[in-house]
């Protein structure tokens, strides 16, 4: 039996992108369309679209590195949209065997990182407002990203002498910033670090060229300098 093909319009709706984006992706080879013999119309297999849209880390990385568009289903323009999607994820996670208690710490980590993006960039987004928020509970992965100011620039408002991204990320994850200061990012990320250290949850976090990798058993918090500089922040949570 011949597999049912989606038209370019249906595929655009499925992925939440424009027709032009799909044409561009086809031409660049990023998401190649099917053309019926002799025809010029573009068609797509639903399975291919599903596989394409499952690579959350790639979408988030390409967006914050190069501003590449991603499927609209992962976009949260405002904090209230993010909160609604997070609550939906929470309901699904609570039903997952083995996560009856742990769900609240996973939601805490994702919520804290996502809310930081909005709290620290409100009215200051350098280009695109809002965040990338995608998850796949089968694969046990959550990805968040923003094209905001990043931790260094945000923390410099209260610690003007911070020399680089690595030091800024270290401060954000380890020190309490004074409660009287306008910038309170450190408190939540400190708890994120503690929870990730103690629980079967892995975290990969980047801001600027600073990278945090906390993975496997005996996790140690360390900030290293990566090869790329990204706009804003990206977090990958695996559990």
């Amino acid at each position: 039996m011949e597999e049912k093909l989606l038209t370019i319009g249906q595929a655009a709706e499925y992925l939440g992108v424009s027709l032009n984006t799909l044409r561009r992706w086809d031409e660049s080879g990023k998401l190649v369309a099917i053309k019926k013999e002799g025809g010029t119309h573009r068609y797509y297999r639903e399975d291919d679209l599903e596989i394409f849209s499952s690579d959350l880390t790639r979408f988030a990385t390409e967006w914050i590195r190069n501003g590449v568009e991603f499927p609209g289903t992962f976009y949260c323009q405002t904090s209230s949209i993010f909160n609604a999607k997070l609550t939906k994820m929470q309901s699904a996670l609570m039903q997952k065997p083995g996560f009856e208690e742990l769900y609240s710490l996973i939601v805490l980590i994702a919520g804290e990182i996502g809310d930081n993006s909005f709290a620290h960039n409100l009215g200051k987004w350098p280009d695109t407002a809002g965040i990338f928020f995608g998850y796949d509970l089968e694969k046990r992965i959550i990805v968040l990203a923003d094209r905001g100011l990043g931790i260094l620039e945000t923390l410099r408002q209260v610690r003007p002498k911070l020399p680089n991204h690595v030091e800024a990320v270290k401060v954000a994850f380890t020190e309490f910033v004074s409660g009287r200061a306008p910038e309170k990012r450190g408190n939540g990320l400190k708890l994120v670090r503690e929870v990730v250290t103690d629980q079967p949850i892995d975290l990969f976090f980047i801001s600027g060229d600073a990278e945090v990798r906390m993975k496997g058993q005996n996790k140690v918090f360390r900030v290293t300098r990566g090869q790329h500089i990204v706009r804003g922040c990206l977090a990958k949570i695996e559990f």
Partner: protein, 99 residues
Amino acid sequence: MKLQIEKFGKTLISRELGREAFKAFQPTLRDLPKNEDLEIDFSGVLTLSPSWADEFLSPLFDQLDDKLIILPSDNLSVRATLKILEEVNKRPFKIRPQS
């Protein structure tokens, strides 16, 4: 007086909404008799984040001091958040022992 935090929502994440909740609670707090404790009950809350709690509980703690009583909770996010807030505020919350 007992305050059911669940009335502000079951998923308490955003710093902004924590601030709103604190403001919304102020008129009720004014009616609290001088000698009465305020008991904070987290039952029904699914996730509590340190940002929300820092905007709501930290200033309440400043206002009420030892008249603020926390009722015990089994929720992992509530417990982790209360622990970090104790570090932020450099003093422990008064937690009512389970009867």
